[in-house]
Assembly symmetry: C3
């Protein structure tokens, strides 16, 4: 990473950047969904399941807390997100990593004319890991690149930057699919139906990409035409030979779906309140849809929701969105353990447990 | 709790709700002062005194920290209160419970149209205990009810909600009275004089209720007529056969008092600045009152104070308000230990200590 | 401290106050740079170096974390400073001291009319150490004095108050000089060149004072006339017989300097935007200056910087400002250990390590 100038680095595609996010063949930074290959995804899911199993006993919880108890993490959240913040915070606590938070970055030094790069470099001096959420796309990458040129580089996890990347959300979605479909032969060959604001939701874009690594998955994109998935996504689906189709007829897609992934209309990105003019009623999941859903299908949502899914569905065993929340915490635990190379100790403890 | 609809649950009196806040005969949620019976109060006071005694040595402090070191608490403070926040935060640290805070709840998901219930349910996914302060009366109860209908219920402690309930403040007041009067036969038969804004202070209302459980306590309410204690409180005092009287003559009440409980004019609840018109000078405790106070009486205040008690009184040994602050921390420690069923271990350690 | 009234105490010079900041001959409060004598500075530097050496292994880090794991610190930051906050926060975590933060002090009780003294006394009830930053000069001293008159005094560390004092910044500068000049016979006899806004930067004033304790140090003050160092500083330099001179010709001072200490124009203290009229171009360090700097000289900056030092200088081994940041954390670790009298255990561990 340090060998390239920032301009050279930025010119790379996400796939080309991926090797720069590794150290000695292991993940070091976690910045874009495109950096995760299938062996990594399988390992992450396995590790998440093992740690949550270990955490069922007090002894197991104390074992986990000991793993990184000599390390400190900075949660640098320039963009508010209580949900993602708490998920990472709890994940740090589970592995004993001592967290410190920076939320309001406008107050202090930036007022005194310091560059954002100087600020983050200073703050990073005190910590062993940076977990960063930032409104500017690519900022986390910029910091990772910058630190790689200093004497004291630390790993950076992207907890959401700009409109484009939120890689740990994509990881928790994969983990939710993997756990749900494990008794049915895995994610391979399943039919995944994405619904809602597919143009602006970074979640769907990242998940769609990661699903390329599971052969036979069919992707269906259900949205009003103005909010359909981007042509760039479709282009790489075609390149990968993936079966997909686009529609605005949600009702017809429910019976065949293995997973329905609902999303919210992201009107915070509206330029001119264009979302208000849309008829979004046909892109909601109501209690009346439950009987049409296959008995072993699942219903997902990255949350927060408005009215895309009626609260009456919450108690249905196929409703996965509250479990996605917990899965997110465990996936983040697993990711942190992999970054710090402490995952093998989890395996050892787990093997003793299951022997 | 889960067996009732929210409407049915809300229709219950606090006393009727109390059993729903238990699990297997033990306190689970701590939501309203009315749920605490005399055996609970006695046990809580005993436990608070034992933990503070244990905490006098480094070994004892490390023992306490170990008790809940595998658990995490969320301090959800939608209403600012540094004092109560820090007291709970320190209480968590004392028993090793790892705290995480949510203060500004307006920023994140609620802006995106998420319901408060969804927000709290999401956040609760990461934690083993919710400590909640909220401007809306009954919100903590609402969350406890809501979570009891999910797969993952966690205990909820009410750290102040709306105008009506702040149960741990009432508990610390009871503990302060119990400790102070222990050498004089306990709280039973004492004369407690409440002074100030009795109409709007939730503290006095809750404490008055808990004092019903101590036979022979006489309650005196000293306030300007427009700020006198509510008729609902007097109704249950009568029902319980408790001796009480109302007056606006503070001076005359000082000599016979065993405890004087001063309160602040809560003009933040004024509708039309009506407090400004009141002559509150006669409802202040000054250094000139000290000689009139019985040698073994105590002077209390829930804090923050304005000028209800002159700072010159602070050094008097009968001034209890700074000790109330510390007592509050220890009572919260005891409450948390009871909720997590770890109090028996404190007894064991304490018995070894005093053997 | 308790024996004097606040008025009597305030009338003392910093040097006269120093003994009041001790307990049993050891530092207790850390409030003003003037309280630190040479044996203390030497000990602090030694201890900082030993702890960072110990922290190189996981075993060492766990040893350090155990030292104060039964104590809690409040970081009371009424004035925003993410940099100083995180440095202290990390220092607390390193020695296991559990931190809690109070940042926005305007929200809560002060709105209800509570005095700042009552607020801080309440908050201090829950903690064993106060680390305080406040916009009002002398506020940290005021709190230390106030608590010394109560039953429960706790040590207070000044993390920056008003325009005048930021003692731990001065300590980290001394430590940076000491480490840098250790192979060259120590700080004694070196030529230290201060550059920039010397009138308003509290850093330079404190450091200048501490340097009096190192014989033979020559101090050079480079600034536009309106921002030159105060006459009060020059008066005590003369009194101490220290060689110094004032100039506005930066270029000429570079070749002979052993340390160049750059500072930022602190226009946040401008009364009438007077800084905007200054030509500050001649008070910047650029890449073109690097060849003129002695090979073993060092370049310092308290940060945040604007353009006083060009980023192109960052990679030069003589650029010390990023190391100053890390040094600050270790100096704070050492200070906390001294205050709590746990430094001897560090010595013992260190001796075992180096045996």
């Amino acid at each position: 990473m340090a060998r390239l100038s920032w301009e050279e680095f930025q010119a790379l595609t996400p796939e080309q950047k991926a090797p720069f996010f590794q150290r000695e063949g292991r993940p070091y930074h976690a910045l874009v969904a495109q950096q995760f290959d299938r062996p990594f995804l399988d390992r992450l899911c396995e590790l998440a399941t093992r740690t949550r199993r270990i955490a069922k006993t007090r002894g197991g919880r104390l074992f986990l807390q000991d793993l990184l108890s000599d390390k400190r993490a900075m949660l640098y959240f320039a963009q508010p997100s209580t949900r993602t913040f708490l998920s990472f915070y709890a994940a740090c606590q589970i592995v004993g990593l001592q967290p410190a938070e920076v939320r309001d970055t406008s107050t202090s030094s930036e007022l005194k004319g310091e560059s954002p790069e100087d600020s983050v470099r200073t703050f990073s001096s005190y910590f062993d890991l940076i977990i960063m959420r930032h409104p500017v796309g690519g900022f986390a990458e910029r910091i990772a690149w910058l630190l790689s040129n200093t004497e004291r580089s630390v790993p950076v996890i992207n907890a959401g930057s700009g409109k484009d990347q939120h890689p740990t959300q994509a990881l928790l979605d994969i983990y939710t699919l993997q756990r749900s479909f494990e008794p049915r032969g895995g994610i391979e060959g399943k039919r995944i139906v994405f619904v809602g604001d597919l143009a602006r939701g970074r979640t769907v874009r990242s998940l769609s990409w990661l699903l390329l690594q599971y052969p036979g998955v069919r992707q269906v994109f259900v949205a009003p035409p103005s909010l359909q998935i981007g042509e760039d996504v479709l282009a790489y689906l075609r390149r990968a030979g993936v079966e997909y189709h686009l529609t605005d007829d949600f009702e017809s897609e429910i019976p065949a779906a293995d997973a329905i992934y609902m999303t919210r209309i992201q009107d915070e990105w509206d330029v001119n309140r264009e979302s208000a003019a849309l008829d979004t009623r046909r892109f909601k999941f109501t209690a009346a849809h439950l009987p049409k859903l296959k008995p072993d299908a699942i219903l997902m949502h990255p949350l927060p929701r408005r009215d895309e899914i009626a609260p009456e569905c919450d108690a249905d065993p196929r409703a996965m969105y509250w479990r996605q929340v917990r899965n997110g915490m465990w996936v983040r635990v697993a990711l942190i353990l992999i970054i710090f190379d402490r995952d093998v100790e989890v395996d050892r403890y787990y093997e003793d447990l299951t022997r």
